[in-house]
Point group: C2
């Protein structure tokens, strides 16, 4: 809860454009995603909005994706994650822990983004490809999992 009112206004407008309503279930999904600050699995959503049936959650996610409010994120395991679309939050990338599956949002500097976008445009053009967007994920070990690994090693040695 406690989300900037302009978010709900924006989402409502996007839904209205396709003759859909901003109902409490949809609002619950949006709030959960907005408050999490990182992409959520369907499991996460179920825990954060326990009253919301799973079939409804999935349906809302589909509807919200279709009107550009939600984006599906392919992580490094077998489950998709969901987050608010970049034009609602901001363009960003992901750190993905290959050990526990956690996904962290990161925002590179505008300078880096600009350089990369330019480079990718060239790369695309020279392949007859029209670049629209890009995804950049860093794979590795999160702070928590690094701790765990160190502790385990120490335990064995000591």
């Amino acid at each position: 809860m406690m989300v900037d009112e302009t978010l709900h206004g924006l989402v409502e407008r996007r839904l209205r454009e396709v003759s859909q309503r901003y109902t409490s279930g949809r609002k619950a999904v949006v709030e959960v995603l907005a408050n999490a600050g990182h992409p959520l699995s369907i499991e996460d959503i179920g825990e954060l909005a326990p009253r919301l049936p799973r079939s409804s959650a999935y349906r809302h996610l589909v509807d919200l994706q279709q009107c550009g409010v939600v984006r599906r994120v392919a992580a490094n395991d077998d489950y998709y994650r969901f987050e608010l679309a970049e034009d609602i939050t901001e363009h960003h990338h992901h750190l993905m822990c290959t050990l526990c599956g956690k996904v962290i949002d990161v925002t590179p500097t505008p300078a880096f983004e600009r350089a990369m976008a330019n480079y990718l445009d060239d790369l695309s053009t020279s392949n007859g490809f029209a670049s629209i967007d890009h995804r950049l994920d860093v794979l590795g070990a999160c702070a928590t999992c690094r701790q765990r690994k160190l502790a385990a090693t120490a335990g064995c040695a000591g």
Copy 2:
């Protein structure tokens, strides 16, 4: 067919390390992936190796992933793709057509890769994250789909 003999030697060694054999079914999967030059869906593999049962193809893909010969690629649709691991081919990225699903391999310049890797290391470190690898995908429209779109527009206008 017609694949550098060192590839098969390498794969065989990796399998042997975990007491597994480089059988004809596994070889068929490796050759199909090596000759394609871009990530293949299970459907593609089925078409390129029609004698290979689907359950075996999936099993071989799992085995080959476990010994580091194959990598699974999340595209922008609902189906995974499979390709040879980067230490067998080379580190590279993907152009993904959001219209037809095609995935194209691209290799950025070493200079760009170095700059990006450095930057991502910093970004990771400042989030307590240990960077190991990265994925960079460009989303857009492939040459074929661009043609199709232009043709359709012209048709409507004329």
